[in-house]
Symmetry: D3
Subunit: 251 residues, 6 copies
């Protein structure tokens, strides 16, 4: 099966660049089951990273366009490459293949590992948004806490040891103070540091890599022949009424 | 005080046109307290109407830009002129004046009128989204039901008598079957039909006009010197770090 | 419009006296929109202040009588002048004009200012009651915390600087420890100190004056032609069956 | 042990009269464990029956006075003889013996009999209030439904066969449509018809007599040496500060 | 009435022995109402104590067999003698007499004593299970906290003074930090230390002995002629279809 | 990887027999990713099918023993082959490999397919238990309904066309009346009919085969190197203290 990992910002043009995109693609393919091929693609423009509701809103229209293109090109599923799952509902309205969000996927996986879990996020200002995403995923009652590391996305990779130490320290608070049985990395750049095993061992609780979780969820859905329900994410009424995609936008 | 009612689609260029924009502006000013001046403005491009998650996503970036412009021009508050409150969090991040959503405003008002209330919406496909908005507003437990009329937004004004009859019939189901004590019009075009009093009298329960509710909420906030909390809707971190608004977007 | 602010205790005969009643009336009128006239009235007997369930129960019968009298005298709405909203449901059963509670009004307003809010109350023994009022208002999920200042109602005005310092200190705990985005004064005497702006500035989060919030809610309802639903607050069955108000009481 | 069953209305002066009070007293004593003595007492004035928030508010001050008197006279516990549990919190503030409400007691008992239970009430207008009482008792999640019989309290005893038939019909709806595993009589007059066994047999599900449940709860508490927590129902602060009971009321 | 207290482990053969069984029987009889006779019986084999889901699963089949035997021998009700209420639902399916769990009984009783209560348990690993039992009992919203003492069940009786001191210390945290108004002993061996009165006095909040609570609940149900609903705990379908009890097990 | 599918009843000796076990094994292997090998094993004795809490309790001890044996034999994960997930927590306490329940797995998967989902179960008497399992899985809020087909487990395969028609009819009620966006087969025998695609097409909503979902969940966990948290499912304290497994049981 072919899976598109769609980065909702212009990563190849930004500070991380094409090299990081290819590194992530290689990692994803190394995590995949035999027979799965993952391509990492990015949108032509948008925010450098997504750390606010504003930046999330900015990236959605181009991301949806790219997911539609991926479906036309024959991909079997798409993963939205940002932990906020920007544009998830809208994309599901416009394609029939599965569209997977790393947040939703990793929340559901973490929910199965124990009674409660925590999310490690970037800034305190993202906590309320993460709590809402847990509600949307349906597992709000299993969320022990959301805690921020305070390291901006674009600095997470600068000093991996420092980042790792901070992630361990924050995860330990989740386990000891908030009674989390597991925790997950609430940011794709955190996840692609590929430190889940080390951090899990240090903390003594399972750690979920959101990139891996999204990939496995996509593979699960495609292998089961399942996609998202059209009663939940219906084709827009104007399209059903025969209107072209372009005519929906008044220029 | 000066309040901007920001239509998140290009209404002046669309089927409803500038005439309808001016009619709504006149209505809003007729509803306002002495000393309030309301201006209705629209974005230059976007969807003709908003009836799906996709159309909502499409309209947000231009809507936020326009709200920022309104603040620079001296408005005291902005109302987002769509019942889905598109872009509400993002806009609040970027301005300091109050930004009011008709959905949030009318949900909170309806919550005060009785034990439970219902929302009349356009299509069945919007019910789950409305339920989520009630959760976000904090009053999910008071939502008796969301029921759809089945009349598309752009047809609501074609036959007002038919629309009124349908609204009454659906509202009666909310009151009799779902035990709603009050109900609200979950669509701005429904609200600007200005039929709340007639429909309320026919049904025997209070009816909330979402346009009026948003206006009153804006007037309330401005007159109290209140605006939305910056801990909840913080200025994006990159801006706080000195980056210009333009530099946030990689083209 | 004419609004009655009904004090549910004999304030004019008590330690605060008629002077404080007139000061509050002046404040309320200074906060009102053009065209609103507020009268502060009190009941002839009852508790000196309301700081327990017992004192609340004591004040209700006379308060309802006075609200009925206000309606007969042509007032357009009544505000119950105690943050516990004593007698709110019962009063709404007996009149058709809006009856507004400062607690319900300010909880709904605070809910719109961010993700979570806190209530500053008088004693620890009132916390559980405040949580129940938040549930009744429908916004329990948005309540970050209720914290007590420990200053009795009748001493709040004795040393306004000390009171202000305590309110700031407690509000800071709400924001920093409980993640409240806004807070409100859960006591009318606290609210009528008229310190919301100063305290908000010191704490860095919006502060809701419950007296102002109730006034604005009353103005909103009257200006929209709305009142509370008679399905939620029905006229007592014996009255509907033709029994006189007096005959309901067996002496 | 000696238990006072405190009727919060002037039953001996009303349509039911002293004879009915004595009949209820005899029933309660017949239901009691060996060694328990129950006295039925009523307040000197108040509403003839309690079917609205207004009537409930009217009855509370005299009811609390009577409960305090019962404690002074050596009773070991008091039951508030109305299913709305009027004055429950306030009475618990003022006495140290257990004060039991039939509603709270029977809700907790019904919760133990199956997964869900229903309440049979008098009028539709009481449903929301009953739901709130279930929330206060802590068992809202187990409440399958509240359904009204539509027979006024003062007519329940006029035609017991008709009342019984109606109770069976409504209880069957609770079991079949609402999936209640048990149901309870949400009115003391319903309960004192003493038809729980017959109605239970007809419906095929356990039926809880609220009068019996309150009695058993009182006996349970007294025999275990337990009473209500003073952190939850504290003595009013003014009393703790040495103020006399009378001085709390400004006449 | 005759009540069987069924110990779900082979207590008479284990470290506590027959002497402790008889001591508990004497205590139960001393707590009972006049006319109640309690017999303590144990299963022939199973775990020495129950401190994990595994040990709980081990004990259930023999416990159910013994409860069925008790019913055949004419007991009026059974109490499952372990705070985890192991086998409660299954036992209720197979007998018609009331089967009472100390956990469910004491949770419901504690819920009536204040706004919130806490459970004192043995190990941290049991906290999540206790929270689930509170959900099943329907009173999860009233659970302030579950806190562990860290003393294994089989060591609780070795040094009663040390155990008492620990219970007081943990209960004080529940009251002061978690705002519990009451607390209960979440372990039968804790309860049979019979220290509730002393500990309650030291802490200043009501303490519920789970053994007493279960006994009183059983007495309440038998005296009211009530038992658990057969819609909630139905006879297994194969039995209803005429299959013998033995034939249900394929050997 | 090697996955054990552990049937918690003696299927090879019962009416379905070894042939059905091998058929299920072949199906599971046909659904697996390349490199996965599934073995279906059953316990030596226990109930013929599991349709009550009693039968569930009966099967658990032997099932746990068999899962422990599978781990010793080198399996990488175990699936409990009954939709009630009997013994899930206990088994997780005793092994370190992942133990997967079809109910938990399929609930979490169904939660990701839309806003709400339904469960098709066998009998009405199982509905409350299914609701509890949804709560335990953390997705109770996404459960639209549980509806029973009324066909006993051992008859589901007798007339597959009749079973299919019934499943379609009940699933349609879930979608149309309960607003489910997806549904799942709440019984392994239903799932191994392998009719999900046909039934999904007929109903117009995704259908989740619980056997496939459990397999995919097991493959996901093993491929990610994850297992259940030992803080949630700890090794029993007596074992940690050095006691042998056998010594935990007093014979």
């Amino acid at each position: 099966m072919r899976i598109a990992y769609v980065v909702p910002g212009p990563m190849s043009k930004g500070p991380m660049g094409l090299k990081e995109m290819r590194r992530r693609e290689a990692l994803l393919n190394s995590w995949a089951f035999t027979g799965t091929e993952v391509s990492v693609v990015d949108v032509p423009n948008g925010p450098a990273s997504i750390e606010s509701a504003y930046e999330e809103a900015l990236c959605v229209p181009a991301t949806i366009d790219l997911i539609m293109k991926c479906e036309r090109e024959g991909f079997d599923a798409a993963i939205i490459g940002c932990f906020g799952d920007p544009g998830l509902e809208a994309a599901r309205e416009l394609v029939t293949m599965p569209v997977v969000g790393p947040c939703e996927s990793s929340l559901l996986l973490a929910a199965s590992l124990g009674h409660k879990f925590s999310v490690l996020t970037v800034f305190d200002s993202l906590i309320a948004g993460q709590e809402l995403l847990a509600y949307k995923a349906g597992v709000r009652d299993k969320l022990a806490s959301v805690r921020a590391t305070g390291i901006p996305v674009l600095e997470l990779m600068k000093d991996p040891e420092k980042t790792k130490a901070r992630l361990i320290a924050v995860a330990e608070l989740c386990v000891k103070q908030d009674r989390a049985d597991a925790f997950l990395f609430g940011c794709m750049t955190m996840s692609f540091l590929d430190l889940a095993d080390e951090i899990s061992a240090a903390v003594g609780a399972p750690a979920v890599n959101a990139g891996k979780a999204a990939l496995k969820q996509a593979e699960m859905l495609v292998s089961m022949g399942l996609s998202h329900s059209k009663t939940a994410f219906p084709t827009p009424a104007k399209m059903l009424a025969g209107q072209s995609f372009e005519a929906m936008r008044v220029a």
